[in-house]
Amino acid sequence: MFEQIAFYLFSILTIGLFLVTVLSNNILYAMTSLASGMVLIAGFFFLSGADFLGVVQLIVYVGAVMALYAFGMMFFDVTKVVKENNTSNVLVFVFGVSIALLMVAMFAAPISPEVIFASVPPEPNATNPEAVGMVLFTKYLVPFEVAAVMLLIAMIGGIILAGKKMDKSLTKTEDENIIQKDVK
């Protein structure tokens, strides 16, 4: 009973919040609604028994990724209203939904439910984080290490890309820069 209430509440709220993200013309509204939608997605993970995944979603997505976006905001002019294409929204909705349906049909057509079987069943008498740890460090050890190297490369790349010319301000207008030079 409570599971049903929670599921329907989460699904309605996430769909609404992500619609705000997609349709809003203000970057700040889009970012805050995306962050709160991510929190509710973590609720889906808890509902489907993936406790560890939900915690990782909260820490990585809501904590790290959204904070990174919020820091990125400092470099862009966020108060400006974003211009959008003048194409009709109805056309975009029809195309979006039909492409999504097409992709689902494409990927789901060759799969029949009878041939799906559990290749990695969770350990009995183990809580979800324990079972995840056992599988992650045995069967998925190599992808785990590769993901670690990939994250390291991404970190170095991000620092190198964004760190160039950090002493110059992007948001100050020309006049402010001139005044600063005069003071010096």
């Binding site: 619609l19 970012m31 560890f52 979006g96 990695v120 992650l136 993901a147 964004a162």
Partner: protein
């Protein structure tokens, strides 16, 4: 009772919302938000299937998707800052420099 289909329908709806965003948006930062929505929709579907088939592989895939999304954001935001420094805008139509 909530079944697997309920979760898959919600995931499909979220994916469609993300796809609508990718088609509709002209600002590069908003395009990034839309791709995040699509990645999250895939994660919801993976977690639900992992629960209903009693198999941990789906959760593992969701973990790696989260790791890839995190590195994508780190690199992508660096590139966006570079583009903004160079061009002064994030609008896709203004960035079209090759006139055919």
């Amino acid at each position: 009772m909530i079944g697997l289909n309920h979760y898959l329908i919600v995931a499909g709806l979220l994916f469609a919302i993300g796809l609508i965003g990718v088609i509709r948006r002209r600002n590069l930062l908003m395009l990034f938000f839309a791709t995040e929505i699509m990645l999250n929709a895939a994660n919801v579907a993976f977690a639900a299937i992992s629960h209903y088939y009693n198999d941990l592989s789906g959760q593992m895939f969701a973990f790696f998707i989260i790791a890839i999304a995190a590195s994508e954001v780190a690199i992508g935001l660096g590139l966006l800052i570079l583009i903004y420094k160079k061009q002064g805008t994030l609008d896709l139509d203004d960035l079209a420099s090759m006139k055919g």
